[in-house]
Symmetry: C2
Subunit: 242 residues, 2 copies
Amino acid sequence: MITKSEINIIRSLGDRAGRSEHGLFVVEGDKSIAEICNAGFKIVRMFTTTDGPGLKIRPSDMARISSHKSPPDRLALFKIPERKIDFQLINKDLTLVLDDVQDPGNLGTIIRLADWFGIKQIICSPATVDVFNQKTIQASMGSISRVNVQYIPLEDFFKQVNNIPIFGTFLEGEDIYTSQLSHPAIIVMGNEGKGISDATSKFTNRRITIPPYPHDATTVESLNVAMATAVVCSEFRRRMKK
Amino acid sequence: MITKSEINIIRSLGDRAGRSEHGLFVVEGDKSIAEICNAGFKIVRMFTTTDGPGLKIRPSDMARISSHKSPPDRLALFKIPERKIDFQLINKDLTLVLDDVQDPGNLGTIIRLADWFGIKQIICSPATVDVFNQKTIQASMGSISRVNVQYIPLEDFFKQVNNIPIFGTFLEGEDIYTSQLSHPAIIVMGNEGKGISDATSKFTNRRITIPPYPHDATTVESLNVAMATAVVCSEFRRRMKK
């Protein structure tokens, strides 16, 4: 049996405030639960409507604690690990900075990209979507265990960083394919609709852009922030191999 | 008032078979509806629970026709346009081929990428997720009007194509950053879990890969197919600018 108070706590984990208060996050479905377990996160509690691991509960209770229209067979609570920014690493390698990225899927995808391209840290503005949002976890897969995602007012972060080029990705800027890129470097990606805020752009000292093809195409939508991150990370790493 | 039969038809549009039978697709929410209208698709019918355009219906009816846990204020039906593969264009430019891409969000993102990188046609295996899936439309935004997405058994497609290099993206292949790329070219992207099938890989004559960083990294997840498409399209277009 699951208690009413447990149901309330689990439902509160749907919000960042609830996750922060309880130090827990929710993962739904066998595949995702296995991923997160394998990634080294500590499981605290598990519920199921079927056989196998977890406390057996009624489908109606699962529907209450699940965030999906079709509730899963299994739902687990994991502990949020404690981590800090490694400033030494920032002086040595590439770091991503996210300025108010809103979509949980985009954040998850960016984490997975960072993992692929060997970027160990992502610094997020406080208004960036929470990394322990379920959709973010689902999109990032096991990568969230290998990439350190930290939240800090970006002004405070930039003030602690010295002598490292800070690249901002803008709709107008130098063509990334022909720009001089550097290493170490900080790469700032902006919000889905608004791009990089004025407050943050003050800290960038290089403006780069991914040109559409053909270069003068005008009808296209902007590139989604996760796709732009893929192209930018790929280009920085390609140059480093030379 | 919305009739029971209309509700049934709209619910049937949640499946590919229903969309194909009625020649219609569903878009939910003001923002997406506006996007699709602006993209030039023809609206056939619209329902709303609030003021403004559309036939007013009860929230309980909107919940029945919506595919979301939180139903939108407005839902519209659009006409599926009739299009064909342009083989002449395939001889002149880049073409993407998708071999059983399953996730609607991935397909939508790939369409948006194609639009950005000036790729006008995407050829999909019949088992690739339907382009008029709601999630695909949402992820692709207005780009679905500018990119021609066609479904055909890939064997039939490849048999109609002559003398164009067919690049397959594999986990093991030539490093894309140092490979010789060409134009025109056909670029094949595989299924999320299984990659390119054996049947399709027989038609590819170049195997390329996006190396992780560092090159010998072993712990990372594979790159999601949409992200891989971003990197591959970016690299093909970068070379063409030289």
